[in-house]
Amino acid sequence: MTSRSQARLGRSILLHLFLTPLALIWLFPLWMMVVFSTMPDNGIFSPGIELLPHDGFIDNFNNLQRDTNFVGAIGISVSVAVTYTVLSVLLTSMAGWALARYEFHGKGAVVAIIFGTITLPYAVVLIPQFIMVARDFALANTWIALIVPPLFNSLGVLFMRQAFSMMPAELFDAARVEGVKEWRIFLFVALPLARPMLAALAIILFLASWNNYLWPLLINSQPGAMTAPVALGTLIGLTKVSWGGIMAGAVMLTVPMLIVFVLLQRHFIAGIAAGAVK
């Protein structure tokens, strides 16, 4: 072996020796989530060290369902996340298209206001949003309350504006010269070309909606109207509740997202790398 390849091997071993324990530590909470979800409560709260899954998932799930209507809450979460994602992708890509591809009066102001307020904390709007939705519109504990207010998120606008402005302008001019109406250019030329970006945006928005906690906690706190994270959150800290059940719920919230993550990693990473979350 040459000294060069020896040095490379040495560095490679060092790299793996450092990274492997770190990776295991990072995976540990997820692994324990799965393990806990399969253990009976008296197993979780026993002095022994248990690192391998048991077979109690179904029991735990039944306990969870007894503590709160988790299946119903999941149903609400799925419907809300799907509707929110579709609406948000549609609205923000339309707005992004307008900002990327048209000259119009007030464009500078719109862009400045979006950029100028993007780093303001969400906490700032929480109280007025709550007063408006719960008191002025009397929409607390409805689907609209869960879906519509979070649509303000402007990251999709900036993301899609970027995507559309990177496409060659001549493409749209060509369609324009051919007499294609603007909304058809958007629908049949721009959107199909933006498919990878739309996928990335949709995944990020779906995840944000699926995991959203604070707003649904505030606005939909009635039992039949809670989303799954809120329903699960109400159990944490209660005394007479099955922790195995809570873990089963956590697994049900997390594992589908992990599968999506593995399958669509490329889009996921593209979306996050573009700063399209939070």
Partner: protein, 286 residues
């Protein structure tokens, strides 16, 4: 380009309506509410009512202190860790890259409630797996929930676990946009790998790192779910109370909207200051 007001606004208006109603107006409204006495109906304009109380409120200073403490410790540690993860994941020597990426990036998809629950269970005093493992290697148990310092540490550990990979993804994308030939040139110039990292990689990554830092600071500043769920409403005894939690308590438990808005605008002020610092750091060299 032709000026096309009508067409442009047809595409823009649906979003703009929602943006104005649920974002711009609340930003203004929140500011106005912070100057009103909201404990009695009708609300009345009383500039000193909330802000005066805020300045003299020990609970506010406690929350502010805790929030800043978490910020100052957790964000730099996490960013450093994220840079390390990204650089190592980018190494051409790494085998089974996909597995490592999964390990570090997976927490990004885990919801706050789910991971708060797991951390609470893992760190519990007598039956938590962490204390069991500490015991098994001869270390004493730590009471994560009854003492302030471990409780703060726990919050920071949890947040770091959840967000380090997220930042690593952004930094990795930044790394991959650095052209390979820069490193080849440096290698030919006999610059060591370590020096390449400090003199090429880090300076070129500066914009990305500042971006991550700002995102993380603004995120951590609003920290709510972790102290709400993991350390049980900011326990022990307000030891992990944050501004986010104070806002929640004042706004939605005591329904004291004016005071909560003042707290919210304190956060906004901090965020604006951070953003200005970012713009200053990112200014074009003259």
């Amino acid at each position: 380009m032709r000026t096309q007001n009508a067409t442009a606004y047809r595409f823009l208006t649906p979003y703009l309506l929602i943006f104005v109603v649920f974002w711009i107006w609340p930003i203004i409204s929140s500011f106005l509410i912070s100057f009103q006495a909201t404990r009695t109906v009708p609300w009345r304009f009383a500039p000193a009512f909330n802000w005066g109380r805020l300045i003299g409120d020990p609970a506010f200073y406690n929350a502010l202190k805790n929030t800043l403490l978490i910020l100052v410790i957790q964000v730099p540690v996490m960013i450093a860790l994220a840079i390390g993860m990204a650089v190592l994941l980018n190494s051409p020597l790494l085998k089974a890259r996909g597995l490592y990426r999964f390990a570090f990036f997976a927490p990004v998809v885990v919801g706050e409630v789910a991971y708060s629950a797991v951390f609470r269970l893992m760190f519990s005093l007598d039956f938590g797996i962490v204390n069991k493992l500490l015991n098994s290697i001869g270390l004493p148990k730590v009471d994560w929930f009854s003492n302030v310092t471990p409780a703060m540490a726990l919050i920071m550990i949890a947040v770091t676990w959840r967000w380090a990979g997220y930042n690593a993804i952004i930094i990795l994308a930044g790394l991959q946009s650095i052209p390979e030939d820069v490193y080849e040139a440096a290698t030919l110039d006999r610059v060591s790998k370590v020096k390449q990292f400090f003199h090429i990689t880090l300076p070129l990554l500066k914009p990305v790192i500042v971006f991550c830092a700002v995102l993380s600071i603004i995120g951590t500043m609003q920290l709510f779910t972790e102290p709400f769920l993991i350390t049980e409403r900011g326990g022990p005894g307000g030891g992990t109370e944050t501004l986010g939690l104070l806002l929640y308590r004042q706004g939605f438990r005591s329904l004291n909207f004016g005071y909560a808005s003042a707290v919210a605008y304190t956060m906004a002020g901090l965020a604006i200051a951070i953003t200005l610092v970012q713009l200053w750091l990112m200014r074009e060299p003259k």
